[in-house]
Structures are given as C-alpha cells and as structure tokens.
C-alpha cells in the first residue's frame, strides 16, 4: 500500500443512505411478510398457486431489501459488487433448480414402496 497518496476514495457518508430509505424498506418488508403470512394461514390457495405466490412475494422482498438495505446497484457501490452478485444468483439458481430437476427425475424412477405398490395394485382391481 503506497501511503504517499492516501488514496482516499470518498466519505463513508456517501455509502450510507438516508433514514428515509431504511424506513421505506422496512415498511415494505413488513407489508410483504404480513401478506405472505395472511395468505398462508387463510388457506385460500393450495398446490402450485400458493408456491408461486409465496416465491413471488419473497423475491419482491429480496429486491426491496437489496435495494433499500444493501444499496445494490447504487452509485456509492462498486459495479463489481453487482456483477459478482448476479453471477452468484445465476449459479445458485442452476444449483437449486438443477438439483431439484435431477433429484425429482431420479426419485420418480426409484422402485415404489410397498404401500405404493399395494395402492397401485388395488387400483387395478386386486383386493389387497
């Protein structure tokens, strides 16, 4: 580290946001959390619908917190933070979705359990 030029980049303050930003982020997050909560315990949706809605709400809250709490993509933060973050998201998606695809595929080709076999045979007319 060459200390002849201290290489001061900026004020720390430029990295903070205003209190306002945090309040908005906080409020939105609470809203999204409560929405997810209410929809879940009301049991008005099921199956794929509830999964989709919950994931959707979670992703929005992710964005909210990334922008309001992490200040991602803002001027104060280096562009590299964003690039590495996006790269990580891409790999994580591949890992999770890929694993789910592979494992579901594999599991569906496993031999059925005794219970499943009996159920199947009964459905075909046996009386077990």
């Amino acid at each position: 580290m060459d200390i002849e030029t201290p290489q001061i980049i900026s004020d720390w303050r430029e990295h903070a946001a205003e209190v306002k930003v945090y309040i908005v982020g906080f409020a939105l997050s609470i809203l999204l959390t409560l929405t997810a909560f209410v929809i879940t315990i009301a049991h008005i949706l099921s199956g794929w619908e509830i999964v989709a809605v919950l994931i959707f709400l979670a992703l929005i809250q992710l964005f909210v917190q990334l922008i309001f709490f992490f200040h991602i993509g803002s001027k104060a933060q280096s562009k590299w933070n964003l690039y590495i973050f996006l790269f990580m998201i891409m790999i994580v998606s591949i890992l999770v979705i890929g694993s789910l695809w592979i494992m579901t595929n594999l599991n569906s080709k496993m031999m059925p359990t005794t219970k499943q076999m009996i159920q199947y045979m009964n459905s075909q007319g046996a009386a077990l």
Partner: protein, 200 residues
C-alpha cells in the same frame, strides 16, 4: 500515517484499504449465499421424506414464526439506522441503536432455541427423519450465523464504548451491517420456503 484506532473527530474517510476489505467481505457473503443455497437444495429435496414422522404443517406454529420474523426484520432496520449514526459520528446513538439490534437478535435466537428444544423433547429431533434433519440444519445454520453476528456485535459495541468511533470501528460496523442484512435476506427465504410453504 493516521492512527487508525484513535477516535476520529470529523466525518470518517473511506480509503482504498476500506474499499478492499469491504469488497472482500462482500465476496465472502456471496460464498455464504452459495452455502445456504446448497442447504436449501437439500431441504427442497428431502422435505417430503418424513419417514412416518411429522411434516412441516404438523410442527410449525405460524404466529410464533411471524413474531420471530418481525423481530429479525426490525433488527435489520435498527442496524441500518445505527450505521447511519456511525457515519455521522454519533457514538451514543450508535451504541443505542445497536443495543436494540442486539436485543432483537437475542430474542430471535432464544425463540429459535425454544422451538428446537420443544421439538427435541417431544421426540421430533433431527434424528427422526430426513425432513427434520434438513430442517434443523438449515434453520440451525442460520441461527448459528446470527449468534456469531451477535457475538461480533457485542465485542464491537464494547470497543466503541471504550475507544470511541475509530476508523477501523466504522469499517467493522459496515461489515457487521452487511452481515446482518444478509442474514435477514436468508431468513426471508427460510420463512417462505420452510415455514409458509410447510404450513400451506
């Protein structure tokens, strides 16, 4: 050369060392994301393997989880406010806001421990089934991270109390805040994927 550990009087300056360290920490957080992603993948694959034991809907208490979630979310907020105070050189406010953050965080951890203890007591421990193994590990790893963060927070508060806001303390508060916000984001997904989807 500026002594990095004396109380700074004017607005703290952010230099290349700080930039490098904060960036390095950011990358570490990215690796931690992958770690949690792997745990999520395991949970996703194994969550239906209840092996005759209880499933999520049978053991999760929605209201309890909501309180936990709001506690952690609030602590993320107070942490952010505390950091702003640090950048504005307001030592007492920093300690104040981070004390609140600490208390909220501790409440979160205690609630989680109580939940775990209860499950283990009634025979639904991590040994019961693959579902419970992955539940305990995913949520437990997050709780461990929170605990480490709380210990760090305590140590940092003590340092700031005794030595005031120094250049290194401001940087460490930044790192701590990044860590704390990151943990809340992971919790969003635990809340959604483990608890809400389990209950639905």
């Amino acid at each position: 050369m500026e002594d990095i550990d004396t109380q700074i009087q004017e607005a703290p300056k952010y230099d290349k060392t700080d930039d490098t360290i904060v960036f390095g920490f950011w990358i570490y957080l990215m690796t931690d994301c992958v770690l949690f992603a792997a745990l999520f993948a395991v949970y996703a694959v194994l969550h239906n393997n209840t092996f005759g034991g209880p499933s999520g809907s049978q053991i999760f208490s929605p209201h309890y989880v909501l309180i936990e979630t709001l506690a952690l979310l609030s602590s993320s907020f107070t942490c952010g406010i505390g950091l702003i105070s640090a950048y504005n050189m307001q030592k007492n406010r920093v300690i104040g806001w981070f004390s609140v953050t600490f208390l909220l965080g501790v409440s979160f951890v205690i609630m989680e421990i109580v939940e775990f203890a209860h499950l283990i007591n009634v025979g639904n421990s991590f040994k019961r089934s693959a579902f419970l193994s992955s539940y305990f590990t995913l949520v437990g790893t997050h709780g461990l991270h929170v605990t480490v963060g709380l210990i760090g927070m305590l140590i940092l508060m003590i340092r700031i109390y005794t030595k005031g806001l120094t250049k290194s303390s401001v940087r460490r508060l930044t790192l701590l805040s990044l860590f704390w916000h990151f943990l809340d984001i992971i919790w969003i997904f635990i809340f959604t994927i483990v608890y809400m989807m389990g209950i639905a």
